[in-house]
């Protein structure tokens, strides 16, 4: 079909972190089953806009190409998602590509998601294992707990939940849903639970869990279907109990 001979892309571009964004339109030759990334590769091979002007290749980030690394997140036709999993046949044309607006733009569609990694540091989203001697195997994990914790472990720090969250913006220091759920993941782990309080303290810190306003956009947009709002409610309970236990005193406090 004629309309399928080329695919129209309108891409929001930006040359450097401080320069002004602008739009460029590209006509990419259609191929069967192409995704947004294969179209961006075509533009990279032949960086000429729709009106024949030679331009610089559009810059974007990618790695795994199977929706598990989170690097290629961008706003596609208004929806934040992974460009590797965005099939051209399923998108309305012209296809609009923009960088995620929550994050600082590095260049074109590349954004800097460092704030997400800072957030993971704030809630200590890891399990310290190193000792001065062999600590032996850790405690076992009940199977049903492992199953729901596994769902949380699918988080790829892609940034889509932060992009959708109305409380993650320049006016607030809210760290966003992803890190809140990761604190729950590591607190649910039998070895990680030995440091549960430290993560809860992180959640109670600046920009922590109190910044959540329950719009629940995060759970709707998460490409991995992570029950983010369940995690947030669970961490609400955990931080409240932790606050009571630390103030009034309790042997349950870790």
């Amino acid at each position: 079909m004629a309309e399928h001979s080329t695919v129209e892309f309108i891409i929001t571009r930006q040359d450097s972190p401080d320069s002004k964004p602008y739009e460029e339109t590209f006509h990419v030759p259609y191929r069967k089953n192409m995704n947004v990334i294969s179209a961006l590769m075509e533009i990279q091979k032949n960086p000429v806009t729709a009106d024949g002007k030679e331009t610089t290749p559009v810059a974007w980030e990618m790695s795994c190409l199977e929706e598990v690394c989170g690097a290629c997140s961008m706003v596609i036709n208004g929806t934040p998602r992974q460009s590797c999993a965005a099939l051209v046949d399923q998108l309305e044309q012209p296809i609009r590509l923009e960088p995620m607006s929550t994050f600082p733009v590095v260049r074109d569609l590349i954004v800097d998601r460092e704030r997400m990694f800072d957030a993971l540091k704030q809630v200590k989203a890891w399990i310290p294992l190193d000792g001065t001697h062999d600590l032996g195997p850790g405690p076992r994990m009940p199977e049903n707990k492992r199953q729901w914790a596994y769902e949380l472990s699918k988080c790829m720090t892609c940034g889509v939940c932060l992009e959708a969250c109305p409380n993650v913006n320049d006016k607030s220091d809210f760290i966003g849903p992803a890190a809140l759920s990761q604190a729950r993941l590591f607190n649910s782990h039998p070895t990680g639970a030995m440091h549960a309080s430290e993560r809860l303290e992180g959640l109670m810190g600046e920009g922590g869990i109190a910044g959540c306003g329950n719009s629940q956009n995060c759970v709707q947009v998460c490409p991995k279907g992570i029950p983010l709002t369940t995690s947030i409610a669970a961490m609400n309970r955990a931080t409240n109990l932790h606050a009571f236990r630390s103030f009034f005193g309790s042997d349950e406090a870790l």
Binding site: N167, A210, N217, Q220, T230, R237
Partner: protein, 206 residues
């Protein structure tokens, strides 16, 4: 810990919204509903409330200070959100936006309402009785202003109760949160009825 102040301020904000403000709101609307049973019933009930021991202390610590705190931090919270229902038109996102909008409407309404009733009574310019409200609400503009104010306040309470259950970690599963949505909806309609029915009585005597 200094870095955790936000957490405690926000938890206090959430708590005060329900205890005592939410309880006071329901109590206030229920007591006012005596108006529907007649002028004398209302005057008796309002007189009883106004004659409670230490009433000024009760007002300050149960009503004024909690509402003032909830309002000040609430305005800050409302203006630090970037509402995005145009891009993400999910039900909860609409509730998020409406929660902030009704909060702002409620502040304007309460400020006017307190000025017009409690302050004027305190200054000796008005008496606490049926005819005071009848006089205010017989103007159609004020009637609709009060309807919007009361419905906004009740919405803010009912939907706020839903968030309260999440903030305190009571409803965690999607299922329990869904059930709570219906509970909040029921509370919204029931309490709105109690409030608006009273306004109609004052305005139209029916």
């Amino acid at each position: 810990m200094a870095g955790q102040r936000d957490f405690y301020w926000r938890r206090l904000h959430s708590l005060l919204g329900v205890v005592p403000i939410g309880i006071f709101l329901v109590q206030h609307l229920v007591i006012n509903h005596f108006a529907v049973y007649g002028e004398e019933s209302f005057n008796k009930a309002a007189g009883f409330m106004a004659g409670l021991p230490f009433v000024i202390l009760l007002e300050i610590f149960v009503i004024y200070l909690p509402i003032l705190y909830h309002a000040v931090l609430g305005v800050y919270i409302a203006f630090t959100a970037n509402n995005n229902v145009a891009r993400f038109g999910f039900f909860r996102n609409w509730m998020f936006k409406l929660q902030r909008l009704t909060g702002l409407i409620t502040i304007v309404f309460i400020a006017w309402h307190v000025w017009e009733t409690r302050v004027q009574i305190g200054l000796g310019n008005a008496d606490l009785d049926y005819s005071l409200m009848e006089g205010i609400l017989s103007s159609p503009f004020m009637f609709w202003f009060y309807v919007i104010g009361v419905v906004a306040a009740v919405f803010h309470f009912a939907n706020g109760l839903w968030s309260f259950f999440v903030t305190w970690g009571i409803t965690q599963t999607p299922k329990s949160q869904r059930v709570m949505t219906y509970v909040a909806l029921f509370i919204f309609f029931a309490v709105s009825y109690i409030g608006v029915r009273t306004l109609i009585q004052f305005a139209y005597g029916v």
